[in-house]
Every structure is written in structure tokens, then in C-alpha cells.
């Protein structure tokens, strides 16, 4: 596949791996967090960890849109979908995310709710046009990557005077989440999660650019390298991070120059600013309430806002107390450290959101990496 295979070249990967191994100082550990679920998935899918020296470790971050959505909002979506007049349009990933009392959108659909899986916001618009007698609600989630398509659907609905279309907006922002990670005390209470640098978001950065990370890199003195989602992108970004650490730098660098500019996509940013406003606060699964971290529709577009049309009052709901998604999303724990992992919780019977989306750290580790746990356990057994 042209323009894809070039970024998955095993020979090039081995030569970058050799340089990383050569330049990473053997007397120290390097811990880098990949913020995005897309990077988490790539690490597991291509076995990138096998190419890194033992003292360069990756810590999974919270950048999985499905994972950070709190249970209360899924409860809201299920309640909306159960209204007889509503057709709820959603991305397929959300169908199996557990809500309160073991409910999911999938179960709601089996119970009679009209829930349609769509690939694009424009599919939802088409459904609204085809079914004028029904209320079509698009369950909008995601970071800055999926926000412009939602904005586009809102503008289109306004232009077409679609009275039966609305958006249940759950869009969140990346920089506040990175800040929250860096402000989180770790288990030992030593102050912070020990992360030496960040592999910055790929698609998010095509929209917002690299400038928004500058303040974070300076304030927390952590290097950020924005990287593409292909495995060679990751390898190169990791090498760039190792070099910054070795040279005592904490800058924002851009590995993904074929898609990301410093300023980002100004048209998308303008469209987002025109339609969305910042919420004063929003709950994230795992990170709790974060100020100025999410978007709502501006008052000019109140008529297209499902929260106002259906008077939604979100009731916060607690996660399963045994589920460690919160710690895993903050990089404090690894999936295998959760008691539920692989016992009660697997992709077939997910207890927490990290096990649902293929971008979730638990799902990625389960689907691609869990043989390492038993290999490690086997090696330990062999030593005893």
C-alpha cells in the first residue's frame, strides 16, 4: 500500500531502534507517555515495545475518546435513546461502553431503542432528512479531531432548517487533560506521575497545531514531540524525546510535519469557535472534574443542542469500584495490574471503558500484548 508501507518498514525500524539503544543512557530510565489512544494501539499492534531498550518505557495516556466519557453521560444517551420519538446516532465504539447497572447502548437497542451506528455526522443528517417525524440526536464525542465534523453537521442542519436534528455534545479538549495528568499525585505520593516526556497527539494536532503545547512543555519542563500514528513515526518521536532529555531540553517538536503545522487548521478552529463555547467544568472518567476542558454549543445554536431540547440533567455515576480505569487512564497503573483484567473484564464482557475501544489501554493490551504477562510470569517462575 503506497504511502502506508513506507511508514511500517521493518528495516528502517531496526535502524532507528539501534540508534535509540545507542543514545539512551544506560544509567537512567526514560518514561514517555503517549497521550493518544491511536498511539497506544500502534504500540501494541506493531509490537513497538519489542524494539525499544529496557530502559525506554511507554506509559499509556488518557487520549481515548470513548474511555474518558463518564458513565453519567452514557446514562444520559441511553435515556435519550429510550424515548420513543428519538433516533440516536452514534459511532460504533460507544455501543458496548458500560453505563450504570450494567446497561449499554447495545442492550438498549435490543430492548427496543432506535440506535443507529454511523460513520459520519453527515449520515445522521441524512437520517434526519429521511425521517422528518422523528427526533434524530447525534451522540458527539471525541477530542479536537472529531469536533470539526460535528461543527460542520451543525452548520448544515442550520442551513437546511432541520427542525428534528440535534447534537448531544461531549467534545473534550486535549491540553487540559495533559495538564491534569501532570498535576496528578502518583501512588507513592511523590508529587506526580513520573513521565519524562510526551509523544503528542497526531490527528488532534492537525487541528490545533503545536503551539498549544508550548506552555505545558515550559511550565512542567517536559519535552513534547507531536508524532504521526504510523509505527515509524513513533520510533522517530521516541528518538527525538531521548535526545531532548539527554540534552536537557524541554521543547515542543514536530515529527509529524507531513500533516501538522504550528498553527494547525485555522478554518477548522474558526468553525469550532463559532459554534462551540467552553464549559466551565466537565467530568472525565479517570480524571474527575476538569475546569475549561470541554465544549458545549453556543447560545446561538441552542435549538440544535440536545441537552437543552430534552432538558438533560446529568447525574454523576460511580465506576465499578474494582475497575482501575481511572488509574490506567492517568498512567499510574498498567492494565495487567487491575484485578479485573482478564478475569471479569475482557473485550467480550468489558467492565470499564478502557477495555471497550480498540484505542483503550486495556483493550490494546488484551488483544495484542497479554502474552507478555504470561511470558514474564513464566520467566519469573523459571528463576524461582
Amino acid at each position: 500500500m503506497k504511502h502506508i508501507d513506507e511508514y511500517r518498514d521493518g528495516n528502517l525500524a531496526r535502524s532507528i531502534a539501534a540508534v535509540i539503544a545507542q543514545e539512551a543512557a544506560t544509567d537512567r530510565q526514560y518514561r514517555f507517555m503517549e497521550f493518544c489512544g491511536g498511539h497506544t494501539h500502534a504500540i501494541s499492534r506493531y509490537g513497538i515495545e519489542d524494539l525499544l531498550p529496557n530502559n525506554v518505557q511507554m506509559v499509556h495516556g488518557p487520549g481515548c475518546p470513548v474511555c474518558v466519557l463518564p458513565i453519567g453521560r452514557i446514562d444520559d444517551a441511553i435515556r435519550l435513546a429510550m424515548r420513543p420519538e428519538v433516533i440516536l446516532c452514534t459511532y460504533a465504539d460507544l455501543m458496548r461502553v458500560p453505563a450504570s447497572a450494567g446497561r449499554t447502548l447495545l442492550k438498549a437497542r435490543a430492548a427496543g431503542a432506535d440506535i443507529r451506528m454511523v460513520y459520519s455526522t453527515l449520515d445522521a443528517i441524512s437520517i434526519a432528512e429521511a425521517e422528518p417525524g422523528r427526533e434524530v440526536v447525534f451522540f458527539a464525542i471525541g477530542f479536537e479531531t472529531t469536533t470539526p465534523p460535528t461543527a460542520r453537521a451543525i452548520r448544515l442542519a442550520r442551513r437546511k432548517n432541520l427542525a428534528n436534528f440535534s447534537i448531544f455534545c461531549n467534545h473534550v479538549l486535549t491540553p487540559p487533560a495533559i495538564r491534569a495528568i501532570l498535576d496528578t499525585p502518583d501512588l507513592e505520593g511523590a508529587g506526580r506521575v513520573r513521565v519524562d516526556g510526551f509523544v503528542g497527539p497526531a490527528h488532534v494536532s492537525t487541528v490545533i497545531g503545536t503551539v498549544p503545547y508550548t506552555g505545558l512543555a515550559e511550565t512542567y519542563r517536559k519535552p513534547v514531540v507531536v508524532a504521526g500514528f504510523e509505527p515509524l513515526d513513533m520510533m522517530q518521536a521516541i528518538l527525538m524525546l531521548v535526545r531532548q532529555i539527554n540534552q536537557g531540553r524541554h521543547e515542543v517538536e514536530n515529527q509529524y510535519i507531513r500533516a501538522v503545522t504550528a498553527q494547525g487548521n485555522l478554518i477548522a478552529q474558526r468553525e469550532m469557535a463559532e459554534i462551540f463555547a467552553l464549559r466551565s467544568s466537565f467530568e472525565w472518567r479517570g480524571l474527575g472534574e476538569l475546569p475549561l476542558s470541554a465544549l458545549r454549543l453556543r447560545d446561538d445554536y441552542a435549538d440544535l443542542d440536545a441537552e437543552r431540547r430534552f432538558l438533560i440533567e446529568t447525574v454523576p455515576a460511580a465506576d465499578n469500584p474494582a475497575c482501575e480505569c481511572g488509574e490506567i487512564l492517568r498512567g499510574i497503573k498498567k492494565p495487567a495490574q487491575c484485578k479485573l483484567f482478564g478475569t471479569l473484564c475482557s473485550p467480550d464482557t468489558p467492565m470499564g471503558s478502557c477495555m471497550v475501544s480498540p484505542e483503550g489501554a486495556c483493550a490494546a493490551h488484551w488483544s495484542y500484548g497479554r502474552f507478555r504477562d504470561s511470558a514474564k510470569a513464566g520467566a519469573e517462575r523459571a528463576l524461582v
Binding site: 506493531y46 449520515d123 473485550p347 502474552f371
Partner: protein
């Protein structure tokens, strides 16, 4: 016929049912067993072990590039029989048709089924037709049952893999699933790709002849793709396997479509491929035999069976790392076969 539609009287067992059978099904399947017009078909049985399998077909859409529900219902059940190493003898078919379904389309499906069964030399010798009210079905559902005969000394089974055995795949994966997905209205991408739907018993006969008892087992990776099939074999045999990603043949179009849709070709459905596990000393010979058959031209050695008490299917990625190949969680796309 041109403008006619199925109505409830076609399923009532009266004159209309008889007319439907006489005008559509009997000419389409055309064989002496059906011509006897009995409620069952009687036939002589050769000596030996018999094999039987049944499958229901609910695919949407009914017509797709490279086939339709009629040919699929022949190929799928023949393949299930063939994976035993057996020679398929006869098929039975049940049609469940929705009220309002156009007769011309029913005829197209029945004719396609007839063509597929003649090409395979496996006749549909008995059948049944039912009609359900509008809204209670989706056009046509077909269920087929097959019987076959297993050559003496051949006892293939999913639990017979041994450490060191080699794994052979008969050709490119994912063609069927991607061809179907390209037609689903909410995906809407264009491809010239055809479903790989095909009857594999001819290939199987040559494989059995060539490898004999060195052939441990065969399975066709349909729903759930190659990933599901290999995990089934690992579980049944209580062993693991190590695959080589770069050895697994995938067409460029399939790889590109999967990339676009976020799918792994390993979990996408096939309808004309098989996986064989064979003793290591016979692997190269069997591979050459397969490659000489039109349905095995792209056959490849893709991995090796290993001892593993966790039954993991591991793969060495082209990138140079390792991972496991897991079962598909949930439903990739409903009604693909």
C-alpha cells in the same frame, strides 16, 4: 414471472406452492432426485464414514460482487463438508422467503444456486419453501445441509495439531468481507474486488491425496476471519502458534479498505479459503500441490504450531515486533454470510 411477487399462497402448500417449485426450483436444480417429486430423496450410500453439516445463510445484500446468497449457500456447506477431508455427495436446501419478494430475483438466486451445485457436481436433491409475512424476514434466507463421504484412513479434527506442525493458508484473506462491506450503504466505497466465494472440495481432494494422514486438520476461515479460525484450532489442540505477518497474503485493495475502516484483515470473513495444519515433513510438498490448483495459487506457509499452555496465537509483525492475534470482540458487521 417478470413482475410477479411472492405472496402468502406460495407458502401455503397448495397449487401456488407446486407452481413455484415447478417453475423456479426444479428447472434451476434440475436433477433426477427432484424430478421424482417426493418429500424426500432416497439414494444409495457408499461404504465408509459419512459426514454431515448444515448452515443458514442470511447475508445482506443478497447479491454481491462475485456471488449471491444462492451460490454462497452451496459453497459454504460444501466447504464445511470438505474440511473433514470428505467428498460432498448431496445437498438439501430450505428457502424462507418474505412476502412481496420479486419472483424474478428468486429465480436469479435459484438459478445461481443450481449453477454452483452443477459446477461442484453436488446436486440439491431435496428442499423446502416457506413464506413469511412482509416484515418478518429480509427477502430470502436459505439453509442448506450437506452430506459427504470420508476416504478411509482420513480423520481430520481440530484437536490433532502437534508442536512443530506447519500452517498453510490457501490464498489471500478478507476478499469476501470487504466486497460485502463496500455495498453497505453507510460505508459506500467503490472497489472492483470480488468475493472469494468458491467450493473448495476439488482442492481438498488433491490435498488429501497428496498429504494423506500427514494432514492433521483443515478449516475454512469464514465469519471472524483467519484470527477466529486459528484461535479455535489453538484451543481445540491445546497448543499455541507463531505466525509470520509478512507471509500472510492480503490483496492491496483489501489492505487499503481495512486501513480506511480500521479493521484487521485477519478478522475479515472469507468464503473460499482454507487453513491446513500439516506435519512439517509434508509441508513443502503439500504447498506445491495446493499452488498447482486454481483455488490455491496464492497458498502460503504462514506459521508453525508451538507448545503453549495459554493457547496464544502469536504473530511476528512485518515491523519487527510481536503481538497476539485475538478473536474478534463483538460484531464487526452483521449478516456477512
Amino acid at each position: 414471472m417478470r413482475h410477479g411477487r411472492i405472496d402468502l399462497s406460495h407458502g401455503a402448500g397448495g397449487r401456488a406452492t407446486a407452481q413455484l417449485i415447478d417453475e423456479i426450483f426444479r428447472p434451476a436444480f434440475d436433477n433426477p432426485y427432484l424430478d421424482q417429486a417426493n418429500d424426500q430423496a432416497a439414494f444409495d450410500v457408499p461404504a465408509g464414514r459419512m459426514v454431515m453439516s448444515t448452515d443458514a445463510y442470511v447475508i445482506s445484500p443478497l447479491f454481491f460482487p462475485g456471488g449471491d446468497i444462492g451460490s454462497l449457500a452451496v459453497h459454504g456447506t460444501i466447504n464445511d463438508i470438505a474440511m473433514s477431508g470428505g467428498r460432498p455427495l448431496h445437498l438439501a436446501a430450505s428457502y424462507i422467503i418474505e412476502e412481496g419478494f420479486p419472483l424474478i430475483e428468486l429465480q436469479r438466486i435459484a438459478n445461481s444456486m443450481g449453477r454452483a451445485s452443477r459446477a461442484a457436481s453436488v446436486a440439491v436433491i431435496t428442499g423446502d419453501t416457506k413464506v413469511v409475512e412482509r416484515g418478518k424476514g429480509d427477502g430470502v434466507f436459505i439453509s442448506t445441509t450437506g452430506i459427504g463421504i470420508v476416504p478411509p484412513g482420513i480423520a481430520l479434527s481440530g484437536d490433532r495439531a502437534r508442536p512443530g506442525d506447519r500452517i498453510i493458508l490457501s490464498g489471500c484473506i478478507g476478499d469476501h468481507g470487504v466486497a460485502i462491506m463496500s455495498l453497505r450503504n453507510n460505508l459506500g466505497f467503490d472497489t472492483e474486488l470480488l468475493s472469494d466465494s468458491a467450493a473448495l472440495h476439488g482442492l481438498v481432494a488433491e490435498m488429501v491425496h497428496a498429504a494423506g494422514t500427514s494432514l492433521r486438520l483443515m478449516r475454512d476461515p469464514t465469519r471472524g476471519g483467519l484470527a477466529a479460525t486459528l484461535n479455535e484450532i489453538a484451543q481445540q489442540s491445546g497448543l499455541g502458534m507463531v505466525l509470520e505477518e509478512r507471509a500472510i497474503p492480503v490483496r492491496g485493495e483489501v489492505a487499503a479498505a481495512c486501513e480506511l475502516l480500521g479493521l484487521d484483515p485477519l478478522t475479515v470473513a472469507n468464503e473460499g479459503k482454507l487453513v491446513a495444519v500439516v506435519a512439517p515433513e509434508e509441508a513443502d510438498h503439500l504447498l506445491r500441490v495446493m499452488q498447482a490448483h486454481p483455488l490455491g495459487r496464492e497458498a502460503a506457509l504462514i506459521g508453525t504450531i508451538i507448545a503453549d499452555d495459554q493457547f496464544f496465537v502469536q504473530i511476528t509483525t512485518s515491523f519487527g515486533g510481536s503481538r497476539i492475534v485475538d478473536w474478534l470482540a463483538g460484531e464487526q458487521l452483521p449478516r456477512i454470510c
